[in-house]
Symmetry: C2
Subunit: 467 residues, 2 copies
Amino acid sequence: MLTYSFEDKGKDSLYEYLYKQIKNDIISYKLSPGEKLPSKRAFAKHLNISTITVENAYIQLLAEGYIYSVPKSGYYVSDISSTKVLKEERPTKDVPSKADNSEIFADFTSNSTAKDSFPFSTWTKILRQIMSDYEKELMVRSPFAGIKLLRNAIADYLYQFRGMAVDPEQIIVGAGTEYLYGIIIQLLGREKKYGVEDPGYQKITRIYQANQVQCAHIPMDENGVDIRALEDADADILHISPSHHFPTGIVTPISRRYEILSWAAKSASRYIIEDDYDSEFRLMGKPIPSLQSIDVADKVIYINTFSKSLSSTIRISYMVLPKSLVSTYKEKLGFYSCTVSNFEQYTLYRFIEQGHLEKHINRMRNYYRIQRDTILTCIKKQKKYNQTVIKEEHSGLHFLLQVETDLSDEELILKAKENGIAISCLSQYSYLPENATEHTIIINYSGIMEKDIPEAVDRLFLSLWNE
Amino acid sequence: MLTYSFEDKGKDSLYEYLYKQIKNDIISYKLSPGEKLPSKRAFAKHLNISTITVENAYIQLLAEGYIYSVPKSGYYVSDISSTKVLKEERPTKDVPSKADNSEIFADFTSNSTAKDSFPFSTWTKILRQIMSDYEKELMVRSPFAGIKLLRNAIADYLYQFRGMAVDPEQIIVGAGTEYLYGIIIQLLGREKKYGVEDPGYQKITRIYQANQVQCAHIPMDENGVDIRALEDADADILHISPSHHFPTGIVTPISRRYEILSWAAKSASRYIIEDDYDSEFRLMGKPIPSLQSIDVADKVIYINTFSKSLSSTIRISYMVLPKSLVSTYKEKLGFYSCTVSNFEQYTLYRFIEQGHLEKHINRMRNYYRIQRDTILTCIKKQKKYNQTVIKEEHSGLHFLLQVETDLSDEELILKAKENGIAISCLSQYSYLPENATEHTIIINYSGIMEKDIPEAVDRLFLSLWNE
């Protein structure tokens, strides 16, 4: 089998180095066109590296056209003498990260919000008003936590629509939740061990890793994080999304919520980061109270974003600190400038205050309900519907489709791609192999155009079995 | 002397704990109203902590009204039975960080830009255009590094006005330099030792400390950071502002620049962060080339902001990575969303492209030159002008005023404050006592109203001697 030594990798990551080595061998014809590359698993074992590393290297090579994939068979070396390799042709331009994005008919992997749904005319009308009404205020530096008017509006909103009694003093506004996660690490300390859900939203792990912070991956049961595993993991901080877990869709019931709060109350150093990112889009039943609202021990940092409910191109998120952390925050991190511009802070303040956010969310909830119902109807019409199970469809903006099939998850993804459908599987979101579930597709429906749904579902079902 | 043990301080910082201990003793009348507190230096020595820690605790107590200061004498315990302590009276409102801000006539400590100078009507006109011209693009998620149009515009700008040949691929746009510093730590690694200028801009040290990264304070000579001290400090990364150092105003000459580059070239792990924050406002002579533009070893991360040249309420900064770090950045940190909203990215792009930035900077350069000349004229008219020396006045937006006086720096600051003038001294920006210079006032003039200058200078000079 192909063998590479990683001794000279220098500052490259393992995957980067592997990618370069293989690429060089392809360019120099050490690997011949049409030659089969080792399977990811075998190659990883052989090189004593992780499968993910090999996978990342293969994906990069695939995207750049150095290799191609044959479904149910594997990866093969491209004939580069005929292929024009993007990267070398346009040295100073952006290299598209996916070479064949244009062939995608529907993308069930994207969690971006529906583009046309953003209340553009209302937003820009308010922004225009703000530019005349607040000319002076727009030029006054925002407090580190965000302008008072916006924090008041958020507090009112949380009280009315989420039943949370929050002092505006506890609210910190920032340019996106990813930014706020980094700030939380600075607030709570990097010597702490951060527990994250497994499976879970991969970016959260990446952020902790980029900050070189110790991360524990806590397995989930059907009610959310497994409490015994949590105790065993010896984590200080637990980062969870109990309202609607991504990707499993689990809504943590109230009894488990109390168990989680009880875990936190047992030690002074323990805190919970509650990411409530799409709680607005619960489509059925009464929302379950947030952890923050039933926490009496001052242990919960609540975090939410407007990028999900408005548009991913507006970068405004916020967190609600426990009262006991407010003064610590001011002292330790109050010197930071607020990362959101005044123009957007004032616009969002008025947008909320005039009731537009509420209206917009109601409208979107209906929109997503129709979206979901249309997809479910299309799925139920499929001949092979009885070989699938739909799971966790009551919350927005995704659900799960479990499939009885002989194909592996990798094969499912490749076959769907050939049919113009981008999908991801639950197993891809598991950090530890023992926490992975096979044959479960995540259906993110927020970014699919309604008119494309019937064809998208047909194409998806075409890809699920080996025929 | 007062003695406190720091054994039970728990998670508090030293200063926070000390502040709480003294406050408790005042509230419980263990310290009586009118009782004198120990001098900062003696107290620090007695408790075996740094003078800065004591100073911070005193400032907090002073701001909250628990103690008061008597010029030339020291700090005394307030009579809290009669004083209404702000913090306890208004539990849910903002506590003003300075109790007596309203009495300040002119603030020479603020580095905020002139409020009325922002080209508000041009900016809002373009923002209005953008809202109609780019409706679709505004809803498309920005690449992690910022939208291409803006990065192209920045690259063109740097080429034309700073002589820097930069590929737009090297540019990363983010919500403020403080945010980008945090990202650089993630890029270069937190196991590195970061060298900062001493004296220097305090926020930089605070950011490294908040990120729990090891920091070395490198003393300055008249040409910038001291190379021998730099070698001795064993730092990996050097964070400097060679174009115009704050607060000393030093412009590092070209020979020293090469020495600094040569230091960096000696080891693979060494990098330079070049903060070029106000290079646009050099008021005399030809600008010296940036380190980035004479660096052939790919060692310089160049960083600059539009918050300084436009408005501190617009949070857009950028950095230029060395070419060799571009792919590392993509892999390690490319998953982060860009922190600047599309509305502002597109507006800034067009603002630069249509030449408004250039015009604005020219206009501001003239404005600041007049501002500086007016202040210098007013200073030269003072009777006691011959007991002062003006230093480093050729770059914007501050210069130094060295004073022959018997007053200590603390007394200078307090006396000026009594006269309604906020000032800061060079010594306050030194981290290590041995790097401190006494009797040198920093005159930040960018935020002073022109009409207030004569009175502000009169009031300032009234405060400089003990009479």
